[in-house]
């Protein structure tokens, strides 16, 4: 497989995952903020959307409508859902001959849906329709990846991109929501509010039902963090995705001989402690831990570029 094709496939996976997480975060945050009792909560929800996307704002109280449009449909904003869909589709277009027609068309259809969505409809009544359709389109594309491609090296590069991006997005969601909770705690609005925020966090990752079932308990700080950071069987935990990414790298590598200088060794060394980490070890220091994890993920991506994407 061409190095350039592998590069495009990796990014196809990343943009797909990125836009889906954006859409879900946007939707959950926005709708959970509509019926909150306190104005601070509502304002915080909007700022939180910006945080999660990584957008800077000059104002402490940005206009809600502007934020909602900028994150979803602003073509000049390189991290909007529209831009992610565009770049994802451009990556697919560059490797059209290497992927199935079905995958290409599902990606193309996804982009046509997003780029054709009228901004005024979105602003007034379409936010739910828009975000849920984005999520559905992403599921369709993922289905085509799963069922119309060979599960060969091409598929592995797409999945590698998906797992690393998902790990990064989950970390970003955690960072944003934990910051939200810490900010809201300063207002001393009560304990039930914190419970509600853990629920929202789990909703942002479609994890609420499974988390409750796993612990047979309502969400709290410790079980939510443990579930989303370390659960080895939940596909949106950070640990699950990093371990899978490592396995994919081992599969992609054809190196027979063990080498301490290999990419797989370096990455394995970096992420292996996730398998044996206890949530109590990071609880006191969770924000620095998450920031460090995000940096590690970026480092892994750089190593992959050096190993496979030079052309």
């Amino acid at each position: 497989m061409l190095s350039r094709v592998a590069d495009n496939l990796f990014w196809l996976g990343r943009y797909l995952e990125r836009s889906e997480h954006l859409a879900r975060y946007l939707s959950v945050q926005y709708f959970s903020s509509i019926d909150v009792p306190y104005q601070q909560q509502r304002e915080r929800a909007i700022v939180s959307i910006l945080d999660m996307v990584g957008m800077q704002t000059s104002s402490d109280r940005p206009l809600e409508e502007e934020v909602l449009v900028a994150v979803a449909l602003d073509e000049k904003n390189p991290v909007s859902i529209l831009s992610s869909a565009y770049f994802g589709r451009e990556n697919a277009r560059s490797v059209r001959d290497s992927i199935s027609t079905e995958l290409w068309e599902s990606m193309n259809n996804y982009y046509l849906f997003v780029s054709g969505y009228p901004v005024d409809v979105y602003k007034t009544k379409g936010l739910y329709d828009f975000t849920s359709n984005v999520i559905n389109h992403c599921s369709i594309v993922r289905g085509k990846i799963q069922n119309t491609l060979m599960h060969d090296v091409a598929w592995r590069f797409i999945h590698l991109g998906m797992h690393l991006e998902r790990a990064a997005q989950v970390v970003r969601v955690l960072l944003s929501k934990i910051t939200d909770i810490q900010t809201l705690n300063q207002f001393k609005l009560g304990n039930s509010l914190e419970l509600q925020q853990w629920n929202i966090l789990l909703d942002c990752l479609e994890a609420k039902d499974m988390c409750r079932k796993f612990y047979n308990a309502l969400p709290n700080r410790l079980n939510t963090l443990e579930f989303l950071l370390l659960n080895p069987e939940f596909p949106r935990s950070v640990s699950y995705n990093l371990i899978n990414a490592h396995e994919l790298l081992e599969n992609i590598s054809r190196m027979k001989q063990f080498s301490k200088t290999s990419l797989e060794f370096k990455v394995g060394k970096d992420i292996n402690h996730f398998r044996y980490l206890e949530v109590e070890e990071v609880d006191d220091n969770v924000i620095p831990f998450l920031e460090e994890t995000l940096q590690k993920i970026h480092l892994i991506c750089d190593l992959i570029v050096d190993e496979y994407f030079i052309y």
Binding site: L2, S3, R4, W104, E105
Partner: protein
């Protein structure tokens, strides 16, 4: 049979040949059945089908993109008309024979020009005509490409004149495009008007990618049993990128860009995730001058440094060979009937359009005096660029053109304004059919010991009323072309 409202106001101007309707408004026999089937649609119903067809191109990404005012590009579909053009087998077989004869002769011509130059020594073609041709490629001198083939893929443009005869309008033996639209149009037709399609026995076009791959394998380098074939594209921003990816996918070969390839020790390799892989045959969709920055344009980032050296060593095959542009030079075109007689010992099956060379004094004089009745074309352009149609040009434009010709007589030829046949075409906005001029881009493949012509081709339609320019870059559309057993 009553014609429906779709054809209600259909009228053909005097002097035009309408392939569907005779002047008396009766349908030609081949079109009887087709018209009666189309007449079952109301304007509204047909409008819906038309929209459906357009959407299907968009969804499949059968589009071309222009980047004039928008860095992300304006993505457009190539306008498509659902009313097919019919070529009965008897007529088609004649065209097919003529195409093979013509393109075989051009191949022999190319070999001769780059070796013994007998045709020049015998004064059949003037020496200065060839040596003044900008597309003559000195790197091809005394070199024979694998299999002896230069123009593996030829896109020959054929028209039907109002005298009822077919003529060759121009040859394209460099990087002819458009074939993917033939296949995409066919898919759309089958899905959109399946009830009509299934009532005809239309010859398939689906075998083109397979035939092209066989052609590539057929001209592999001598040393190689199982060649690695690739298609070289300028990238996703090229307007024909859809076609490049479509063909690569259809053949199951790698679609590469210049930056994916490199030359080491006169062999060509591609960068893969597991290291280098050797490449043996390249179907290149980039122009000669961008192929290799070491010998052609040094600033080209599309090509591969060292490619020409590897090519001349016989380690890699290029389709088409570099330097084929001398055979589709529009001044050389005037001599193709003689070229066919010289190499094939036969009369040409398909006629040329009479052509005046502006670098011949007597002919230049005629061109200057009769420009309002002529089409003036630059000799080395394609895509319909730079063409002046005398009857539609202002006095000022004509004077400007004359000045251009005087400063570069070798750069222009002129031809009588051919009356391209017209064909029933659905006009959006009017919601009815009207006659529009059409031509036919055909596709011929030549290998060492094989030849293939795609059944039918791309019927191109000038959508502007009265326009004779059918090129997609100039607002043309296309139709599916049905070769049907008569």
């Amino acid at each position: 049979m009553a014609v429906s409202e779709l054809f209600h106001d259909y009228s053909v101007k005097d002097g035009l040949l309408d392939e569907v309707f005779r002047p008396s408004k009766d349908a030609d026999t081949h079109y009887d059945k087709l018209l009666s089937l189309f007449s079952t649609y109301s304007s509204d119903e047909f409008g819906i089908l038309n929209e459906y067809a357009k959407k299907s191109f968009l969804v499949r990404g059968v589009t071309f993109t222009t980047y004039s005012n928008n860095p992300k590009g304006n993505e457009r579909i190539f306008p498509f008309d659902l009313f097919p053009r019919i070529l009965p087998t008897s007529e088609w077989n004649f065209i097919e024979k003529g195409l093979i004869q013509r393109n075989r002769a051009l191949n022999l011509f190319l070999h001769d020009i780059y070796h013994d130059k007998k045709i020049l020594k015998d004064k059949v073609v003037p020496v200065d005509l060839i040596f003044s041709c900008g597309n003559l490629n000195k790197y091809m001198d005394d070199f024979t490409p694998p299999g002896g083939i230069y123009n593996h893929i030829s896109g020959t443009d054929v028209i039907k004149h109002n005298d009822g005869n077919y003529y060759i309008l121009e040859d394209n033996v460099r990087c002819p495009s458009g074939v993917s639209y033939v296949l995409a149009n066919r898919e759309t037709m089958k899905k959109t008007i399946s009830n009509i399609f299934c009532q005809f026995k239309v010859r398939s076009v689906a075998d083109y990618p397979e035939a092209l791959l066989e052609t590539m394998q057929n001209v592999r380098p001598y040393y190689q049993d199982v060649p690695v074939c690739v298609l070289l594209t300028p990238g996703i921003y090229n307007s024909a990128y859809y076609e490049h990816s479509f063909l690569a996918q259809g053949m199951g070969i790698e679609l590469v860009e210049g930056r994916d390839l490199y030359v080491d020790n006169d062999f060509v390799y591609m960068h893969t995730v597991y290291g280098a892989r050797k490449v043996d045959v390249i179907y290149r969709r980039i122009d000669d001058e961008y192929l290799d920055p070491l010998v052609f344009r040094p600033e080209s980032a599309l090509g591969v440094p060292g490619l020409m050296s590897a090519y001349r060593k016989g380690n890699v095959t290029l389709l088409n060979a570099p330097g084929t542009g001398i055979a589709d030079d529009k001044a050389v075109y005037a001599y193709v009937p003689e070229i066919i007689r010289y190499y094939m010992g036969e009369d040409p099956i398909l006629s040329n359009v009479p052509t005046y060379r502006c670098d011949v004094k007597t002919e230049m004089k005629y061109v200057e005096e009769n420009m309002t009745n002529l089409v003036v074309k630059p000799v080395d352009q394609s895509g319909g660029y730079g063409i002046l149609i005398g009857s539609q040009a202002s006095a000022e434009e004509i004077e400007l053109q004359k000045a251009k010709i005087r400063s570069n007589p070798r750069g222009y030829i002129a031809q009588p304004i051919m009356s391209l046949s017209v064909h029933s075409t659905f006009i959006e906005g009017m919601n009815e059919f009207q006659p529009r001029h059409v031509d036919l881009r055909t596709f011929t493949l030549l290998g060492k010991d094989k030849e293939y012509v795609l059944k039918g081709g791309l019927s191109r339609v000038a959508l502007k009323n009265g326009s004779l320019i059918v090129n997609s870059s100039q607002g043309g559309g296309s139709k599916d072309t049905w070769v049907i057993d008569s």
